[in-house]
């Protein structure tokens, strides 16, 4: 297990790494190099990175279950918040750059088109998780905190569906993410079965890890 100091370094490195996709967008935008359809490029990139970071967040527990290594759980909240950060950028791109706050058009789009609806739902559901990610909220919510935050599994499924339903025909790329998600959820399910090393992640232990 890395020392406290090492963890701090890892967190700092991860923080910077998570900002690379955004920095790249600024860099490309600055050089007028966002391609023929810049709005769509920014929209797709922010959405893609929200999904990738969500999958990273969801892989912390499977790593623990498989290797017994637990220190990485300490990185989970930061990753989850970065996922929400990119989801916010994605949603902002959608309502601003893509639709220029044409609210009636946007509400119709959300209500009428399933891929937009599931994406929007995933975004809305992530908001309370981001708000209650701090220690005070964990203490206040007690066992309900864990219940609330298990919404992340549903969010993962909705996010992958959002990608799958958006694609015109070639679903190979979203399928890769769907498979990774299935694997991550599958590992959890396997270890939940009675007889297997079961969940030791009681809220108390989690509180300690989440410091």
């Amino acid at each position: 297990m890395p020392s406290k100091k090492q963890i701090a370094w890892i967190k700092a490195g991860l923080f910077i790494a998570a900002l690379i996709p955004l920095a790249r967008l600024f860099w490309l935008g600055f050089r007028d190099d966002l391609g023929a359809n810049p709005v769509q490029f920014v929209e797709h990139q922010t959405g893609l990175w929200a999904l990738i970071i969500l999958l990273v967040t969801l892989s912390m527990t499977p790593i623990r279950l498989l290797t017994g290594m637990a220190w990485q759980i300490q990185l989970r909240r930061m990753m989850g918040l970065f996922m929400y950060f990119y989801a916010c950028l994605h949603f902002t791109t959608y309502i601003w750059l893509d639709h220029w706050f044409a609210w009636s058009e946007i509400t119709k789009d959300i209500a009428k088109h399933p891929y937009v609806l599931v994406g929007f739902t995933a975004f809305v559901l992530t908001t309370p998780l981001a708000i209650t990610s701090n220690r005070a909220a964990m203490l206040r919510l007690g066992p309900n905190w864990k219940r609330l935050h298990s919404l992340v599994y549903l969010i993962g499924i909705l996010a992958v569906l959002h990608f799958l339903w958006l694609v015109k025909k070639d679903i190979r790329e979203p399928l890769i993410y769907a498979l990774i998600l299935a694997l991550l959820l599958g590992i959890r399910l396997y270890y939940r079965k009675p007889g297997n090393k079961s969940q030791q992640a009681v809220p108390k232990a989690q509180l300690n890890q989440q410091r």
Partner: protein, 324 residues
């Protein structure tokens, strides 16, 4: 005699247990970091921006300018030639501009088949001479919700049809694209039922707006745009414009197009641009004009892509919601 050997390692040099364990831990971490870095790097690579350097093609010697689209602002050449949907060369927008170099467009022949007086074959050189080439500036609206304005060079399809001499039996024209896995890497993947097939009703094909394009921006058609010849039907969604055509077949039955076979509830035979009839999964009310910047809003999509005056009469009495 007992020879006392000096130990290889002096006690003071032995690494204490905590230190080496820590080191191992550190190596593990470094490995972790490396893996994460590699993942990020591949992620960034796989999402490269669409910006292949495009070589300009040979100039087309003789073509006349026309009044079509004279008032439109053209989409930049760079965008027209690097943002393409041509699944035979890959499904991402930038794939065709990277991969289409492998397409050999000379020699090229098109075979004319089906309900014609006599089946024949025409070379691309002969096709250039069937009718004087003209420049037509057309709007192109893709079913995905983006659009361009492209200065095509080509000839009216009607001229080729007259040359082909279809019989009275011919009610539809079918366009079949090349599907050669050797030249077209995308064809090795069963994304669509190859070859790509498109079709028009005879009166649509004879409409003066419908052209066979052999060039754009006064130059020979770049491979990624469907060289050496492609269909352009400006009041229909872009996918109706079959690329790299090798066969034109006249028939009395409505052709089953590649997209109709792939997703019959999403893509119909007519595929007329229609802001009132949404794609089942997304809206068709607005479109993003390519060539604008990050802060350029969408524009409203027009009925028949703004060509209603010339084509609306083709569909009188038809339910366009049903015949999408």
């Amino acid at each position: 005699m007992l020879i006392r050997k000096k130990p290889d390692v002096v006690a003071s040099e032995i690494t204490p247990r905590e230190v080496y364990e820590n080191r191992r831990e550190f190596l593990k971490l470094a490995g972790f970091g490396l893996a994460a870095g590699a993942a990020v790097a591949t992620g960034l690579l796989s999402t490269r921006v669409e910006a292949a350097e495009v070589k300009h093609g040979r100039k087309i010697d003789h073509f006349s300018k026309t009044r079509y689209g004279a008032e439109e602002k053209l989409t930049p050449y760079q965008d027209v030639t690097t943002y393409n949907t041509f699944y035979e060369f890959g499904t991402s927008k930038s794939d065709p501009s990277y991969n289409a170099d492998s397409l050999k467009t000379r020699p090229w022949t098109v075979s004319i088949e089906g309900d014609v007086k006599k089946p024949k074959t025409i070379s691309i050189e002969e096709l250039y001479k069937i009718a004087p080439l003209e420049e037509r500036i057309y709007r192109m609206r893709c079913v995905e919700g983006w659009s361009m304005v492209i200065p095509w060079v080509g000839l009216p399809l009607s001229k080729l049809i007259n040359w082909a001499e279809p019989t009275a039996n011919a009610k539809y024209v079918e366009f079949i694209s090349l599907a050669d896995p050797m030249q077209m890497p995308g064809v090795r993947v069963p994304i669509l039922d190859w070859p790509y097939v498109e079709g028009l009703r005879m009166d649509e094909a004879m409409n003066p707006l419908t052209i066979l394009a052999v060039g754009l921006y006064g130059e020979v058609l770049p491979n990624q745009n469907g060289a050496p010849l492609r269909l352009v039907v400006p009041w229909k969604y872009g996918f109706k414009g079959a690329k790299s055509i090798v066969k034109i077949r006249f028939t009395d039955k409505m052709p089953q197009t590649a997209w109709m076979k792939a997703a019959p509830d999403e893509y119909g035979f007519y595929a007329n641009v229609n802001p009132q009839v949404d794609h089942p999964r997304w809206s068709q009310a607005t479109e993003r004009r390519i060539g604008g910047g990050l802060f350029t809003p969408r524009i409203k999509t027009q009925m028949f892509n703004g060509y209603a005056e010339q084509v609306a009469q083709l569909y009188t009495g038809m339910d366009l919601r049903k015949n999408f």
